[in-house]
């Protein structure tokens, strides 16, 4: 028991001592202290909006929402009047410039549920586009990639009830 306790204490002490040691001068050591309190934050700035569609009756409908907000409907009618503009979801990343991070989007499907009902639909094939990266690249750097867009594909079965459907999907970032 005692031996284990001592070894952990030693690591702890080393960690504290080592931090200022990486700095070349007193000013830099202050910066190291700032880094310890700097948080990387992820905020959602724009919701994902697929807009309004109706099945044409020709088969299962798919609505691909690109990371640029452009929709590609299949077997769907997209009304031009009384509709809302589709938008990809947008997330903001804040933190110490130069911090590398990786975006994690759902790998499978996420469920949308009808408002005031129990009917569901699946959203899958999530895609991501960081500010300065090509679509599909999930790793970026704070300072150059301070936001990223997320698109997805909605699948609408032929018998889907009309109505407004909403849901949420988890997005996270991993960083060093």
């Amino acid at each position: 028991m005692k031996r284990i306790k001592y070894s952990i204490m030693a690591v702890f002490a080393l960690g504290v001592v080592a931090l200022p040691a990486t700095a070349a001068n007193p000013t830099a050591s202050a910066l190291v202290e700032a880094e310890l309190v700097q948080m990387v934050t992820l905020v959602k700035t724009v919701d994902m909006q697929f807009g309004k569609v109706a099945l044409t009756g020709e088969g299962v409908g798919t609505l691909v929402l690109g990371v640029d907000g452009v929709i590609t409907p299949t077997n769907l009618f997209v009304p031009t009047t009384g509709n809302v503009t589709p938008t990809a979801a947008v997330f903001g990343v804040n933190g110490l410039s130069g911090t590398s991070y990786t975006v994690n989007i759902p790998a499978g499907s996420v469920t949308l549920t009808k408002q005031g009902g129990s009917e569901t639909m699946d959203v899958s094939a999530f895609t991501v586009k960081l500010d300065t990266k090509a679509a599909g690249v999930t790793t970026g750097t704070i300072g150059t990639d301070n936001s990223f867009a997320v698109g997805a594909t909605l699948t609408i079965p032929t018998t889907q009830a009309e109505g407004k459907y909403t849901g949420t999907f988890p997005v996270s970032i991993s960083y060093n």
Binding site: F12, V16, P79, V171
Partner: protein, 169 residues
């Protein structure tokens, strides 16, 4: 042992961000609007016809006007264009797909056939507007009936079906 665990958590806290993660939930929204539905409100009916010696054609326009060619005598009887009430999203445009092949009408006794072809509708180019007020529109369909002579097509009641597809434009 418990005490050691407490020390471990302190260690992790003191050296932050080796590999950290932060997450949020994004919201999604979509509205599924009503699909197009259609109800037949009037049968496409050519009425009562006498083919006589050599037969001919009977045409009904979507507007319900009936004309004939050949040795046809048309009785003064009920006839009509086919009529459908379409329901869909208000202000949307609905188009129609008509049969592209002759459709067959069979004598009720089943031994004779006539054909109906050249289906037309009153749907304008670009589609029929679904009314804002009630979300409906009326669509009429005409066609041409081909009849052989009275020998090949004996007197009787001929019926058949045809398929039309209504869809958003």
């Amino acid at each position: 042992m418990k005490r050691i665990l407490a020390m471990l958590s302190l260690l992790l806290f003191a050296v932050p961000g080796l590999f950290a993660q932060t997450g949020v939930l994004g919201k999604m929204e979509v509205e599924i609007a009503v699909p197009v539905t259609a109800t037949e409100t009037e049968l496409l009916n050519f009425g009562r016809i006498v083919p006589e010696a050599s037969g001919g054609t009977v045409r009904i326009t979507p507007q319900g006007e009936r004309t004939s060619t050949g040795s046809i005598t048309m009785m003064d009887d009920a006839y009509s264009a086919g009529r459908f009430t379409v329901a869909g999203m208000p202000n949307s445009l609905v188009s129609i797909v008509l049969p592209q092949m002759p459709q067959i009408l069979v004598l009720s006794s089943g031994v004779s056939e006539v054909t109906v072809d050249e289906f037309t509708s009153d749907v304008p180019i670009g589609g029929q507007v679904v009314r804002q007020t009630d979300g409906k529109a009326e669509i009429s369909i005409g066609a041409t009936l081909y009849i052989a002579n009275g020998l090949s097509n004996p007197a009787g009641y001929y019926t058949g079906t045809y398929e039309v597809i209504f869809m958003y434009n």
